[in-house]
Amino acid sequence: MTATAGIRTVTFREAFREGLREALATDERVFLMGEDVGRYGGCFAVSQGLLEEFGEERVRDTPLSESAFVGAGIGAALGGTRPIVEIMTVNFALLALDQIVNNAATLRHMSGGQFSVPLVLRIPTGPGRQLGAQHSHTLEGWFAHVPGLRVVAPATHADARGMLAAALVDPDPVLIFEQIGLYGVRGELSVDAGPVDLDGAAVRQRGTDVSVVAYGGTLAPALDAAAELAAEGVSAEVVDLRALRPLDSSTVLESVSRTHRLVVVDNAWRSGGPGAEVVARVAELALDQLDAPVERVGAVEVPVPYPRHLEEAALPSASQVAAAARRAVG
């Protein structure tokens, strides 16, 4: 970490860790549990040093029992604590789907509002580098389908640093999807960075010719594409959804009402994904604002393959986003 004039450069990993350390230090009800979060320091080294700082009661290594420790997080939340549960990757979160969908999302409703589940799940997601189909899933859209859950996808260092604190204040379950591919990426963060609002999309770059809607792992390629387009004289506006549930349509609609062109970018398969929901809402509420067909960029509908060249071909890229924007602009 280096600091100059109130701004320092940190990795996403460090930003997430800073949020965790602050949460553990400021609220004694908060604890962290998950596979290898303690002694190992976290599969992606996000929680490194926290066991030494806060002890084994509050930084708890669990067995490889995703359903049990996610459910235990739900119960502990019901019991008046503020659990942060890390599921090693979204691929393994499938082993805890019952607890997330049938309990975390429904207990408030089924009990007629008697119980809140203030649980925070941290779930690394997205492809790594040549990890094969079972370790490369992007499934945050599945969870965003479910009422009762709040789903956020931090794509900036400030959101990585600040979303956890806001999530812990929320009385309902919050799923924070952390991009595996971003952990080592450096960026600027204010020295006094703190909690951020969980609600609402953010315009990350102003533009006038086309709206590019991205989130999580696709914000960086969207911004890269915008830079590429700027050099060609095309002004792209980049919207970061930030939250997939509740989805902030208004920021997208407002942007489209100015640019009249839309490109939506998913890291996931396009069928039934968050991008599809964005397009559906624009079609419902602002179809008359569109001057060109909507363009969509996403993963090719195939399990992510191992070989480098095929993996690259399967996943969305900045050049694909730029090409889609050019088509939209015409």
């Binding site: 459910g71 019901l78 008046g80 019952d98 009990s111 809140s116």
Partner: protein
């Protein structure tokens, strides 16, 4: 155990039995809908387990939980109202028969995914440990749940962390229509639970006194910091799995053999033998329970339905007021 305690167990079982019988009538009359799972035959488990717990202890149950809810002290009126889908129901009418909740009595459902409540119970016990509270969590589930991974993950985790938790396996010998021996290679469930380093034993689930005493020992052990206990309560359901079940998978002679040990009548006979309940006393009790049920059904039926405008309430805190 005192005579008064034994009479209390009998009264609870009688209330559960008559409550369930009324549920059958109301279901047939089209007043109760959805899935309805009755615990007739298993009343000793409900009465004995819940009598062993204190008001600060937590309870996690299953979709066959009417008896547990009644024995926990949830009023009949709010249980009927819940099954009628009325706002005065113990879950505001949103849950129904399988999702009975009561925060004031630390009754955490009413979980209709087999074994789905078990990890939650582990977390409740963990929260008590972390917050330094002197209470236990009672986790009720059936023999079917013993086949689920969630049970095995959870008992290992609870044992590893020595949590104040009691696993109460209400073994009625059938996972819906599949007999224990047709789904488990080793049918001694207490033996298997013991392999997790948990103190485990079986008790007669048709004897409420035995159930209460076993649960008290298990709860005291867990409360004292010795880690979780596992109790296998061997019982039998006299009726089908649910109202949809034609019950074609059980031998009538097996059913009759278990009926001969009806927990309600066993307790009545034992009380009579000790001079604690005579015919007049039984009749008086039956009449009181009948009146309680009549009054509860009447009040529940008169309670309002939630307006459709409130449909989206209770999804998140933000929608609590229907906004």
């Amino acid at each position: 155990m005192t005579g008064a305690e034994r009479r209390a167990l009998f009264t609870t079982m009688l209330r559960v039995r008559r409550f369930e019988e009324r549920c059958v009538e109301l279901y047939s009359a089209g007043t109760i809908h959805g899935f309805l799972h009755l615990c007739i035959g298993e009343e000793a488990v409900a009465a004995g387990v819940l009598a062993a717990l204190g008001p600060e202890d937590g309870v996690v149950s299953t979709y066959r939980e009417h008896g547990h809810a009644l024995a926990r002290g949830i009023p009949m009126e709010s249980l009927f109202a819940e099954m009628f889908g009325r706002t005065t129901g113990c879950s505001g009418g949103r849950g129904g028969s399988m999702h009975l909740f009561d925060a004031s009595r630390r009754f955490y459902g009413g979980n209709a995914i087999v074994a789905g409540g078990i990890p939650v119970a582990v977390g409740l016990a963990l929260a008590d440990r972390l917050r330094g509270r002197d209470r236990v969590t009672a986790c009720l589930f059936g023999d079917g749940a013993f086949a689920e991974g969630e049970f095995h993950e959870s008992i290992n985790l609870a044992a590893l962390w020595r949590l104040p938790l009691v696993f109460l396996c209400e073994n009625n010998r059938y996972a819906m229509g599949t007999a224990l021996a047709r789904s488990h290679a080793e049918t001694d469930l207490a033996l298997r639970a013991g392999s997790y380093g948990v103190r485990s034993w079986a008790a007669d689930g048709m004897d409420a006194v035995a159930v209460q005493e076993a649960t008290e020992l298990a709860a005291d052990t867990a409360r004292a910091g010795a880690g979780p206990c596992f109790l296998e309560l061997r019982t039998y359901r006299f009726r089908a799995h649910s109202m949809y079940d034609a019950d074609r998978y059980r031998d009538r002679t097996e059913l009759e053999a278990w009926r001969a040990r009806d927990p309600v009548e066993l307790a009545a006979a034992a009380l009579a033998a000790d001079g604690l309940l005579d015919d007049a006393g039984r009749k008086e009790l039956e009449e009181a329970v009948g009146r309680e049920i009549d009054d509860a059904v009447r009040a529940a039926g008169a309670a309002p339905l939630e307006p459709v405008e409130d449909l989206t309430r209770f999804v998140t805190t933000a929608t609590e007021d229907g906004s």
